[in-house]
Symmetry: C2
């Protein structure tokens, strides 16, 4: 049985096919279990490398249920993307780019890099796989960030927002894949201290003043996380 002790909200909307409450709970739980497995495996293996039978096995259900609930692999991928967006990060209020970067890294540490991020960088991906991920990130992150920069009077706000997000995607994926060991095991707070001012420079055009720190010389990292560094 999939590890879903809670009853998801959508089961109350008569999403299931049977008349009995038990049936509806099963359907919703199965759908949630498939979604959770899909998010994990798409993020770990990419779209092309993920087999539906592995998703079904991870969720503990029959593979035929993927077609029933999601219409196939594309549908499952889109659903996984959409469910990630609920937790996605948007720029808020007077938040600095450093604070936004901190929230993005926190989200990635808590929930993984997600199914959609690789869509930005993997060559040769089918457009129907790539497009929904791009659209969601544009709607949730890049668009609002560019609008905020524009309201602040910064020039070329869309380019600046895209450049910052693309740089973070590179760092997030390299960390998730583990292809650069020191970056992969770096402390999150140290990373925010290292990258936040650079993100401010890219988006806002300048580094915000911090108590006790000059704008052009951010404080040194508190720790040296990698043995090779000294």
């Amino acid at each position: 049985m999939p590890a879903q002790p809670q009853m998801p909200a959508e089961s109350s909307r008569r999403a299931g096919d049977g008349a009995r409450p038990a049936r509806r709970r099963d359907a919703a739980a199965t759908r949630e279990a498939l979604l959770a497995a899909a998010k994990t495996l798409f993020a770990e293996r990419g779209y092309e490398g993920t087999r539906l039978r592995d998703v079904a096995a991870e969720a503990g259900v029959d593979v035929a249920l993927v077609a029933r609930y999601f219409g196939g692999k594309h549908g499952l991928h889109r659903a996984a993307l959409a469910s990630e967006v609920v937790d996605a990060v948007s720029p808020a209020g007077d938040e600095s780019a450093t604070e936004l970067v901190a929230r993005i890294f926190e989200m990635w540490d808590d929930s993984g890099i997600g199914s959609g991020v690789p869509a930005f960088v993997i060559p040769g991906l089918a457009p129907e796989v790539r497009a929904p991920a791009l659209r969601l990130t544009e709607q949730r992150l890049i668009g609002p960030l560019a609008a905020k920069l524009s309201a602040q009077g910064v020039g070329t706000p869309v380019l600046r927002a895209q450049a910052m997000v693309a740089a973070l995607i590179g760092i997030g994926l390299v960390r998730a894949v583990g292809s650069m060991p020191e970056l992969a095991r770096a402390d999150r707070d140290d990373l925010v201290r290292l990258l936040g001012p650079a993100a401010e420079l890219i988006t806002e055009g300048q580094v915000r003043r911090r108590p006790g720190a000059s704008p052009s010389a951010p404080e040194p990292l508190s720790r040296s996380p990698e043995p090779r560094d000294r």
Copy 2:
């Protein structure tokens, strides 16, 4: 000369091992054509998405020659990587991070993003595909950059070098894939002006002074390359 003793069963030509100079010239030309096609297709489609028969068709030779000259797909990928390294960018002398970033973008504009860069970010890639790309980038770019930073007295030089390269990888791949339109069509000089100071902040810990520019306020971009920006 090829290192693989096996002759593929379907090989109908004996192009590589003849005694005549003309034959040897053919062999070298065939090998070069296969390499050039491989570099293009691996960069466009990724390792998994590239079929040997498409590489052979692009090069205008029989697919069996891939096995003869490179021992197979892994061997071809490694050879493509190694040939890119000849042109790879290493940090030089008193060069600033901005100048290094400019040279990297110039290389990517001239020769494409290359076969190796995607290896840093694609989930689920086989280790024997990923490892050579990581090793070459470590040897040519990250290692020398970290050594230079260390000599400059900057703390955590390896982490800083990796963070800068990972951020550039994100931006380079997003540009190559075209997944963020404004970033893809941005003028290279504008990108260097936008990202160079951020790269200096990440690696050197501060932004170098430029004539007529304050370290915390880089000059505005000269152009607005995207119609949506104003």
